[in-house]
Amino acid sequence: MIPTSYYILLGSGLFTIGVIGVLTRRNVLIILMSIELILNAVNINLVALSQYFRSVDGQVFAIFVITDAAAEAAVGLGLIIALFRNKETVNADEIDLLKW
Protein backbone atom coordinates (compact mmCIF):
# COMPACT_ATOMS: atom_id res chain seq x y z
CA MET A 1 0.00 0.00 0.00
CA ILE A 2 1.51 3.30 -1.09
CA PRO A 3 1.10 6.17 1.41
CA THR A 4 -1.23 8.94 0.21
CA SER A 5 1.41 11.56 0.98
CA TYR A 6 3.63 10.11 -1.79
CA TYR A 7 0.91 10.83 -4.33
CA ILE A 8 0.44 14.34 -2.99
CA LEU A 9 4.19 14.95 -3.11
CA LEU A 10 4.24 13.75 -6.74
CA GLY A 11 1.32 16.08 -7.48
CA SER A 12 3.10 19.06 -5.95
CA GLY A 13 6.27 18.22 -7.90
CA LEU A 14 4.40 18.12 -11.19
CA PHE A 15 2.58 21.33 -10.20
CA THR A 16 5.92 23.05 -9.56
CA ILE A 17 7.27 21.96 -12.95
CA GLY A 18 4.15 23.44 -14.56
CA VAL A 19 4.52 26.71 -12.65
CA ILE A 20 8.18 26.95 -13.70
CA GLY A 21 7.10 26.44 -17.31
CA VAL A 22 4.44 29.16 -17.09
CA LEU A 23 6.78 31.65 -15.44
CA THR A 24 9.94 31.14 -17.51
CA ARG A 25 9.01 30.18 -21.08
CA ARG A 26 8.32 32.72 -23.83
CA ASN A 27 6.45 30.44 -26.25
CA VAL A 28 2.69 30.72 -25.65
CA LEU A 29 2.10 27.14 -26.79
CA ILE A 30 4.49 25.77 -24.18
CA ILE A 31 2.84 27.95 -21.53
CA LEU A 32 -0.48 26.28 -22.44
CA MET A 33 1.19 22.84 -22.16
CA SER A 34 2.49 23.79 -18.72
CA ILE A 35 -1.09 24.60 -17.70
CA GLU A 36 -2.02 21.06 -18.79
CA LEU A 37 0.76 19.78 -16.51
CA ILE A 38 -0.69 21.77 -13.60
CA LEU A 39 -4.18 20.36 -14.23
CA ASN A 40 -2.75 16.84 -14.26
CA ALA A 41 -1.05 17.46 -10.92
CA VAL A 42 -4.43 18.51 -9.51
CA ASN A 43 -5.99 15.33 -10.89
CA ILE A 44 -3.36 13.16 -9.18
CA ASN A 45 -4.22 14.81 -5.86
CA LEU A 46 -7.97 14.43 -6.40
CA VAL A 47 -7.69 10.74 -7.24
CA ALA A 48 -5.30 10.03 -4.35
CA LEU A 49 -7.62 11.67 -1.83
CA SER A 50 -10.70 10.02 -3.33
CA GLN A 51 -8.93 6.69 -2.80
CA TYR A 52 -7.99 7.72 0.73
CA PHE A 53 -11.59 8.55 1.66
CA ARG A 54 -12.98 5.50 -0.20
CA SER A 55 -15.37 7.65 -2.23
CA VAL A 56 -15.67 8.34 -5.96
CA ASP A 57 -16.44 12.06 -5.51
CA GLY A 58 -12.81 13.01 -6.11
CA GLN A 59 -12.73 11.05 -9.36
CA VAL A 60 -15.91 12.80 -10.51
CA PHE A 61 -14.21 16.13 -9.83
CA ALA A 62 -11.20 14.93 -11.83
CA ILE A 63 -13.56 14.31 -14.77
CA PHE A 64 -14.81 17.89 -14.46
CA VAL A 65 -11.20 19.11 -14.41
CA ILE A 66 -10.53 17.19 -17.64
CA THR A 67 -13.65 18.79 -19.17
CA ASP A 68 -12.29 22.19 -18.21
CA ALA A 69 -8.92 21.29 -19.71
CA ALA A 70 -10.60 20.43 -23.02
CA ALA A 71 -12.55 23.71 -23.07
CA GLU A 72 -9.46 25.69 -22.12
CA ALA A 73 -7.33 24.02 -24.79
CA ALA A 74 -9.94 24.71 -27.49
CA VAL A 75 -10.36 28.40 -26.60
CA GLY A 76 -6.65 28.93 -25.89
CA LEU A 77 -5.53 27.43 -29.17
CA GLY A 78 -8.16 29.49 -31.04
CA LEU A 79 -6.74 32.59 -29.35
CA ILE A 80 -3.19 31.60 -30.35
CA ILE A 81 -4.24 31.19 -33.99
CA ALA A 82 -5.95 34.61 -33.98
CA LEU A 83 -2.92 36.13 -32.27
CA PHE A 84 -0.46 34.63 -34.73
CA ARG A 85 -2.55 35.91 -37.62
CA ASN A 86 -2.46 39.48 -36.28
CA LYS A 87 0.97 39.78 -34.64
CA GLU A 88 3.07 37.08 -36.40
CA THR A 89 4.59 35.98 -33.11
CA VAL A 90 4.12 33.30 -30.46
CA ASN A 91 6.30 34.93 -27.79
CA ALA A 92 4.39 36.03 -24.72
CA ASP A 93 6.61 39.05 -24.01
CA GLU A 94 6.19 40.51 -27.49
CA ILE A 95 2.42 40.73 -27.06
CA ASP A 96 2.30 44.09 -25.30
CA LEU A 97 -0.47 45.99 -27.10
CA LEU A 98 -2.08 47.01 -23.80
CA LYS A 99 1.20 48.16 -22.24
CA TRP A 100 1.54 51.91 -21.62
Partner: protein
Protein backbone atom coordinates in the same frame (compact mmCIF):
# COMPACT_ATOMS: atom_id res chain seq x y z
CA UNK B 1 6.19 -3.84 -2.78
CA UNK B 2 5.42 -4.35 -6.46
CA UNK B 3 3.03 -1.41 -6.24
CA UNK B 4 5.77 0.76 -4.81
CA UNK B 5 8.18 -0.15 -7.64
CA UNK B 6 5.51 0.63 -10.24
CA UNK B 7 4.77 3.92 -8.48
CA UNK B 8 8.46 4.83 -8.47
CA UNK B 9 8.89 4.10 -12.18
CA UNK B 10 5.70 5.94 -13.17
CA UNK B 11 6.35 9.00 -11.02
CA UNK B 12 9.96 9.25 -12.22
CA UNK B 13 8.71 9.02 -15.81
CA UNK B 14 6.09 11.71 -15.17
CA UNK B 15 8.54 14.12 -13.54
CA UNK B 16 11.38 13.61 -16.06
CA UNK B 17 8.99 13.98 -19.00
CA UNK B 18 7.50 17.07 -17.32
CA UNK B 19 10.94 18.66 -17.10
CA UNK B 20 11.55 17.78 -20.76
CA UNK B 21 8.24 19.46 -21.71
CA UNK B 22 9.32 22.83 -20.36
CA UNK B 23 12.94 22.70 -21.57
CA UNK B 24 12.64 21.59 -25.22
CA UNK B 25 13.28 24.16 -27.92
CA UNK B 26 10.95 22.61 -30.48
CA UNK B 27 7.26 22.71 -29.50
CA UNK B 28 6.56 19.38 -31.22
CA UNK B 29 9.13 17.64 -29.00
CA UNK B 30 7.39 19.26 -26.02
CA UNK B 31 4.10 17.74 -27.13
CA UNK B 32 5.63 14.28 -27.44
CA UNK B 33 7.08 14.54 -23.92
CA UNK B 34 3.74 15.84 -22.64
CA UNK B 35 2.11 12.69 -24.06
CA UNK B 36 4.67 10.61 -22.12
CA UNK B 37 3.71 12.53 -18.95
CA UNK B 38 0.01 11.96 -19.58
CA UNK B 39 0.58 8.21 -20.04
CA UNK B 40 2.55 8.07 -16.78
CA UNK B 41 -0.20 9.95 -14.94
CA UNK B 42 -2.71 7.55 -16.46
CA UNK B 43 -0.65 4.67 -15.08
CA UNK B 44 -0.79 6.28 -11.65
CA UNK B 45 -4.60 6.47 -11.95
CA UNK B 46 -4.60 2.76 -12.79
CA UNK B 47 -2.43 2.07 -9.74
CA UNK B 48 -5.13 3.68 -7.59
CA UNK B 49 -7.93 1.57 -9.14
CA UNK B 50 -9.41 4.53 -11.02
CA UNK B 51 -9.91 2.56 -14.24
CA UNK B 52 -12.54 4.84 -15.73
CA UNK B 53 -10.35 7.90 -15.26
CA UNK B 54 -7.46 6.03 -16.89
CA UNK B 55 -9.59 5.42 -19.99
CA UNK B 56 -10.74 9.05 -20.01
CA UNK B 57 -7.13 10.21 -19.67
CA UNK B 58 -5.97 8.15 -22.66
CA UNK B 59 -8.95 8.76 -24.94
CA UNK B 60 -9.69 12.40 -24.14
CA UNK B 61 -6.29 13.83 -23.21
CA UNK B 62 -3.89 11.89 -25.41
CA UNK B 63 -6.36 11.24 -28.22
CA UNK B 64 -8.19 14.55 -28.21
CA UNK B 65 -6.43 17.48 -26.60
CA UNK B 66 -2.91 16.52 -27.67
CA UNK B 67 -3.97 16.05 -31.29
CA UNK B 68 -5.52 19.53 -31.12
CA UNK B 69 -2.19 20.87 -29.83
CA UNK B 70 -0.29 19.11 -32.62
CA UNK B 71 -2.63 20.60 -35.23
CA UNK B 72 -2.09 24.13 -33.94
CA UNK B 73 1.69 23.76 -33.62
CA UNK B 74 1.87 22.61 -37.21
CA UNK B 75 -0.52 25.39 -38.30
CA UNK B 76 1.49 28.13 -36.61
CA UNK B 77 4.83 28.83 -38.23
CA UNK B 78 7.44 28.34 -35.49
CA UNK B 79 10.63 28.53 -37.58
CA UNK B 80 11.36 32.08 -36.43
CA UNK B 81 10.71 31.30 -32.77
CA UNK B 82 13.13 28.36 -32.92
CA UNK B 83 16.10 30.68 -33.34
CA UNK B 84 15.09 33.14 -30.60
CA UNK B 85 15.71 32.97 -26.86
CA UNK B 86 13.42 30.38 -25.29
CA UNK B 87 13.26 31.73 -21.75
CA UNK B 88 11.96 35.11 -20.64
CA UNK B 89 14.29 37.71 -19.13
CA UNK B 90 13.07 37.20 -15.56
CA UNK B 91 13.52 33.44 -15.62
CA UNK B 92 15.68 33.37 -12.49
CA UNK B 93 12.96 35.15 -10.52
CA UNK B 94 10.30 32.80 -11.90
CA UNK B 95 12.36 29.72 -11.04
CA UNK B 96 13.02 31.04 -7.53
CA UNK B 97 9.32 31.79 -6.93
CA UNK B 98 8.24 28.35 -8.16
CA UNK B 99 10.82 26.59 -5.99
CA UNK B 100 9.66 28.67 -3.01
CA UNK B 101 6.10 27.47 -3.63
CA UNK B 102 7.38 23.89 -3.84
CA UNK B 103 9.30 24.30 -0.56
CA UNK B 104 6.11 25.50 1.14
CA UNK B 105 4.07 22.63 -0.28
CA UNK B 106 6.75 20.13 0.72
CA UNK B 107 6.84 21.52 4.26
CA UNK B 108 3.07 21.26 4.66
CA UNK B 109 3.02 17.71 3.21
CA UNK B 110 5.85 16.73 5.55
CA UNK B 111 3.88 18.14 8.49
CA UNK B 112 0.54 16.48 7.70
CA UNK B 113 2.01 13.46 5.88
CA UNK B 114 2.11 11.36 9.02
CA UNK B 115 -1.65 11.70 9.37
CA UNK B 116 -2.27 10.91 5.72
CA UNK B 117 -0.05 7.85 5.45
CA UNK B 118 -2.04 5.90 8.01
CA UNK B 119 -3.46 2.67 6.58
CA UNK B 120 -6.09 4.12 4.28
CA UNK B 121 -9.19 2.10 5.03
CA UNK B 122 -11.57 4.44 6.85
CA UNK B 123 -15.15 4.52 5.58
CA UNK B 124 -16.46 1.35 4.02
CA UNK B 125 -15.05 -1.08 1.45
CA UNK B 126 -13.82 -0.09 -1.98
CA UNK B 127 -16.61 0.08 -4.60
CA UNK B 128 -16.49 -3.08 -6.68
CA UNK B 129 -17.05 -1.49 -10.08
CA UNK B 130 -15.31 1.81 -10.52
CA UNK B 131 -17.13 2.76 -13.73
CA UNK B 132 -20.53 1.91 -12.28
CA UNK B 133 -19.87 3.93 -9.14
CA UNK B 134 -18.71 6.95 -11.16
CA UNK B 135 -21.70 6.69 -13.48
CA UNK B 136 -24.11 6.65 -10.57
CA UNK B 137 -22.37 9.60 -8.91
CA UNK B 138 -22.33 11.57 -12.19
CA UNK B 139 -25.98 11.05 -13.09
CA UNK B 140 -27.50 11.16 -9.61
CA UNK B 141 -25.52 13.34 -7.20
CA UNK B 142 -23.79 15.50 -9.82
CA UNK B 143 -26.63 15.87 -12.33
CA UNK B 144 -26.57 19.69 -12.40
CA UNK B 145 -22.75 20.01 -12.64
CA UNK B 146 -22.80 17.61 -15.60
CA UNK B 147 -25.31 19.85 -17.37
CA UNK B 148 -23.24 22.93 -16.58
CA UNK B 149 -20.11 21.19 -17.91
CA UNK B 150 -21.91 20.33 -21.15
CA UNK B 151 -22.95 23.97 -21.50
CA UNK B 152 -19.32 24.99 -20.89
CA UNK B 153 -18.17 22.71 -23.69
CA UNK B 154 -20.79 24.20 -26.04
CA UNK B 155 -19.64 27.74 -25.20
CA UNK B 156 -15.99 26.72 -25.69
CA UNK B 157 -16.82 25.21 -29.09
CA UNK B 158 -18.60 28.35 -30.29
CA UNK B 159 -15.86 30.54 -28.83
CA UNK B 160 -13.08 28.59 -30.54
CA UNK B 161 -14.86 28.79 -33.90
CA UNK B 162 -15.40 32.55 -33.59
CA UNK B 163 -11.85 33.16 -32.36
CA UNK B 164 -10.22 31.24 -35.20
CA UNK B 165 -12.45 32.79 -37.87
CA UNK B 166 -10.60 34.82 -40.44
CA UNK B 167 -12.65 38.02 -40.27
CA UNK B 168 -15.23 39.47 -37.89
CA UNK B 169 -18.18 40.77 -39.79
Amino acid sequence: MLNLIAFGILSAAALVAGVMVITRRNAIHSIIWLIVTLFAVGGIFLLQHAEFLFAVQIILYVGGIMVLFLFVVMLVNLDVALKQAQFSRQWQLGLFTALLVFAQLGYVIYKIGAGLSLPAQPAGPEPAHNTQAIGQALYQTYMLPVEIASLLLLVAMVGAVIMAKRKFE
